[in-house]
Symmetry: C2
Subunit: 161 residues, 2 copies
DNA sequence: TATTATTGCATAGCATGCTATTCATGGCTA
DNA sequence: TAGCCATGAATAGCATGCTATGCAATAATA
């Protein structure tokens, strides 16, 4: 026969691979969050930007890029969708014509409570099977990993000579 | 002045939100894996499918969908790219003309060792800041969360009457 | 057997992420 | 001041995820 299924020797266990598990878990969380915030007119990609803007708006795109650890092009596209959906306004900075400052619409401000409530509910439901100390451990470990895997070096290190 | 930055009362701490942290961590891992397997001609989306097929090929699309917890349409697109890139062949099942069985090319088989090695390296580097017991705890907690948040109900529950 | 329902997969359309590139503005310097 | 470099943002093109829908093959049923 032309084709015969082959089993290669097991050299990689996806259930022991952090990257594999994190990817799977992230998709599960994203699906759950999407289900809960779509009725509000929000989506998973806009949500982190909304959090940053609810905390304080008038930020520049560059500031959001740094805060959210997302590429500039990704942020530009996300902001374009948010503007299209009347969540934000972009106004040129008076001092520097290259800069656009991002302002929430009243509609967007009104979404803060229901949207963060939805996210809290998603987190609570997903973590329901863990004890309080397991939850703390899990959050702490993720924070530690993010910190350890994020460049905090100044983007500019001349050391000329 | 027309616009005045507002700070809303803090009601949501992203550093304590499992979903937020998982999303961030997943992007970090994906970027790191992409850097390492792109030279091999692989990408993050094809990687889980390759793992399943290295373990055993001749599987159907439907089997891969169930194994990887991905939507059928997503898998169809991923398989189309893999076929385009000469990683797989699709052959109609002789018994059921609707079914396509997926077979690895020799080129794809040859990638198993370098690709899983790359993934191991990514995981090891990312987790380098954790102790062995912290790593075990982290993997165990993720496994627990995935299990708790995955439907294992039979897709069909008639109970008619 | 003719009709209908189910099943497996493909396609359309969109959101979200990336890299590479372009564009416009501002700053520096010869 | 003119020309060059730096910076902020937009655009192009692609991968990867989703939902909704279409299509072809098979199964079930009237």
């Amino acid at each position: 026969m032309l084709f015969m299924a082959r089993k290669a020797p097991m050299t990689f266990d996806k259930h022991r691979s952090a990257g594999y598990l994190i990817n799977h878990l992230a998709r599960i969380f994203a699906r759950n969050l999407s289900d809960r915030i779509q009725p509000l007119g929000l989506s998973t990609g806009t949500f982190p930007a909304m959090l940053a803007l609810w905390e304080q708006d008038g930020r520049t795109q560059k500031e959001l890029v740094a805060l959210l650890d997302i590429e500039q092009a990704t942020m530009a596209n996300t902001l374009a969708r948010m503007e299209r959906d009347k969540l934000i306004l972009r106004k040129r900075d008076a001092q520097d014509g290259r800069v656009q400052r991002i302002w929430l619409t009243e509609r967007a401000r009104a979404l803060q409570a229901p949207a963060t409530g939805a996210a809290d509910a998603v987190n609570a439901a997903a973590l329901a099977g863990l004890s309080a100390s397991e939850r703390d451990t899990f959050l702490a470990l993720m924070g530690k990993l993010i910190a350890a895997n994020t460049d905090t070096d100044p983007p500019d290190d001349p050391t000329p000579g």
